[in-house]
């Protein structure tokens, strides 16, 4: 049977050193060996039983319980001060057959796969590749677990695809310590798997669009996500270009998404009339400090899969990047006026090389991103139509009140159906500033102060915005969640209160949810709110 080792701990940290945060104990669960329990379904159910046992122990101890995978989030969203569970070894993956599908399923069985929570994006891609399939999109890398991705809304810059959660069609949750606390959720308008399959994983089925959309970006608050059913597609290639263009051109594209009528085109990526094709991915990099009228853009076009194609991998990787930048930032803490000079000198290291071209699969294009030292990232979502204005006001604030050691980028994603997805606009521009974590000194403001100013500046200029759940921000900012999500935040909390018992709402809560008001229990729950509708 699955076994768990429990380790007493005093603290826990994110991958990028944004903590540390207090912790009492850390659980690590490993699955039963395949030699002892060959059936994947049996091992999957065996693991579910073990998780229920851990939930029961936490409940009996009156403590909180929260799962995490790769701890890539930089906010404290993944943290629980009592008990945390590392689920990276829970990584079963399986394809599904036509017999597993619901009778009204709109999906092709060959495209559906069930992945256990601890599968990383890389592992998911590898499993899919053995079936000639691919994920539709990922974040900019591959180390996050599938459950972590959807819980926080991980995204890339696929204009017409969306975020990772947008190709999830089924969710298997463990919402309590009892055998009846295993549920399988789907949309009732787009059912995926049959009741018989749900019985195989010993789950009660709830098909309900509202509940499913609430749980989709669930912030770890709806229970333990044990499994995720995703819809993949046939594998494809991505051809990536990096170009230096006039800022006005880049911003016009960001605002209009009109690649067809833009003066900017890439040879080979035009239609028969010579008009620019719409890319799969568009990203703009902006160093906020120099007064230059040019910036770097990255465009990726989707191509049919065909071999051979040029090897996209670099042969040798060096570690100069981390050490050099980290050293310079240490200097910058004392001499912040030097930050723009340093960033300008490091542009070639930080930014992709101009005129770079590569071709590879999605998994190859967004390959491993090795740890490069303590880092921060602040990321706000705005309508793409507001993106040039938002960039301008945030750049002005950064220059006037900073500088801080980071550079801006803009990525674009289609609206998500997730109730609390930060991709709320028809095309959301994720405007982010990434860099190396610094410490507040007399000369440079703190990261929390900087992110508070981002919120204030956007509010002052009446730019509607959201904030990436997994990124740094002043999450204690008064009224932040209602300002960003309005009634959707209340709806999300109501679905949570309807699905979880009072005790389990408490158990699956954490400091982040309490500070943001998202852990509040809702008393007025409409009858049949979470009834299965199909």
């Amino acid at each position: 049977m699955a076994t768990t080792k429990t380790h007493p701990k005093t603290e826990w940290d994110t991958l990028h050193n944004n903590g540390p945060f207090p912790l009492k104990s850390l659980h690590i669960t490993e699955l039963e060996g395949q030699g002892n329990l060959p059936s994947k379904i049996d091992r999957y159910n065996d693991a579910a039983k073990e998780i229920r046992r851990l939930i029961k122990e936490a409940h009996n101890a009156n403590q909180g319980f929260r799962a995490y995978g790769s701890r890539w989030s930089m906010s404290s969203i993944a943290h629980q001060k009592d008990q945390m569970h590392y689920n990276g070894f829970m990584n079963i993956g399986m394809s599904l057959s036509p017999q597993d599908l619901h009778q009204n399923s709109p999906y092709n069985a060959a495209n559906l796969f069930l992945f256990e929570c601890g599968n990383t994006i890389k592992r998911v891609s590898e499993v899919l590749a053995t079936h000639g399939k691919s994920l539709k999109t990922t974040g900019a890398s591959n180390g996050q677990t599938i459950a972590g991705c959807i819980s926080t809304g991980v995204h890339g810059s696929a204009l017409d695809v969306g975020s990772v959660q947008d190709y999830v069609v089924g969710l298997n949750l463990i919402i309590g310590p009892d055998p009846g606390d295993i549920v399988y959720l789907e949309r009732h308008t787009q059912p995926a798997l049959s009741n018989a399959f749900a019985q195989k994983i010993q789950a009660k089925v709830i098909r309900n669009d509202g509940l499913f959309n609430a749980v989709l970006v669930g912030l770890g608050a709806f229970g333990f996500i044990h499994g995720v059913v995703i819809e993949a597609e046939d594998r494809f290639l991505l051809k990536r270009y990096v170009r230096k263009v006039k800022k006005q051109t880049a911003f016009d594209l960001a605002k209009t998404m009109d690649f067809k009528n833009s003066s900017f085109t890439i040879a080979g990526e035009t239609d028969a009339q010579g008009k620019g094709k719409r890319p799969y991915h568009y990203k703009v990099f902006i160093n906020p400090y120099p007064n230059t009228d040019e910036c770097i853009v990255e465009l990726i076009y989707k191509k049919p899969y065909a071999v051979p194609y040029p090897d996209p991998f670099p042969v040798i990787k060096t570690s100069i990047y981390k050490d050099l930048i980290y050293l310079l930032i240490k200097i910058s803490e004392q001499f912040p006026k030097s930050i723009p000079w340093f960033i300008k000198r490091l542009e070639k290291t930080i930014l992709p090389a101009v005129n770079e071209v590569s071709t590879g699969t999605l998994a190859e294009t967004f390959w491993d991103a090795p740890y490069q030292g303590p880092a921060f990232a602040c990321s706000v979502g705005v309508s793409h139509t507001d993106s040039p204005k938002a960039l301008q006001v945030l750049t002005d604030m950064t220059k006037n009140e900073g500088p801080i050691p980071g550079i801006f980028a803009m990525r674009f994603i289609k609206r998500s159906k997730g109730t609390l997805s930060f991709a709320r606009f028809p095309i959301t521009c994720m405007l982010e500033i990434d860099g190396v974590l610094w410490k507040k000194t007399n000369s440079i403001m703190s990261l929390t102060e900087y992110s508070r100013r981002m919120i204030q500046v956007l509010q002052q200029h009446n730019i509607p915005f959201t904030i990436h759940w997994g990124k740094n921000s002043d999450w204690d900012f008064p009224g932040l969640i209602p300002h960003m999500y309005g009634n959707d935040a209340t709806s999300w909390k109501t679905y949570r209160s309807a699905l979880l018992s009072d005790n389990m709402q408490q158990l699956f809560s954490n400091d982040f949810l309490e500070r943001t008001g998202l852990a509040d229990k809702q008393q007025q729950i409409p009858p049949n709110l979470i009834a299965s509708l199909a």
Binding site: L26, Q34, R43, Y86, G88, I92, G93, W367, Y371, G373
Partner: protein, 120 residues
């Protein structure tokens, strides 16, 4: 005067030799496929953050008739798959000289490796 003419040069030479022996470089090999074996309890802050790293720093002795040496990677708690994901070897001048002086009978081995994470 004796110190300046004799002892100091000797000390400087010894220091230089010491530095030379420690001068080294490392080369890292990493599979493009698979994931490194994770170590959720690790507190490392280097390239191997979150990885289960096995470090070997030893000198092996082999007899004159043996042509080469093979280190076997076996299935252990730190390496449940027995398959390699990342290998880093470090070469020092001291190690090269040791091998040369002993005609290859003593070999300095400084390796870090990370195994593949098990799949299911």
């Amino acid at each position: 005067m004796k110190f300046l003419r004799i002892v100091l040069p000797i000390l400087l030479f010894a220091f230089f030799v010491l530095l030379l022996f420690q001068s080294c470089y490392s080369v890292r090999l990493r599979s493009v496929n698979g994931a490194p074996m994770p170590d959720p309890l690790s507190t490392r802050t280097d390239y191997y953050r979150d990885m289960q790293v096995v470090e070997l720093d030893t000198t092996i002795g082999i007899d004159l008739t043996t042509k080469d040496f093979t280190l076997l990677i076996k299935e252990t708690d730190l390496c449940p798959t027995g398959k390699l994901h990342t290998v880093e070897y470090r070469s020092t001048l001291g190690g090269v000289l040791l091998s040369g002086i002993t005609f290859g009978r003593k070999r300095r081995v400084r390796i870090k490796y990370v195994c593949m994470k098990p799949t299911n």
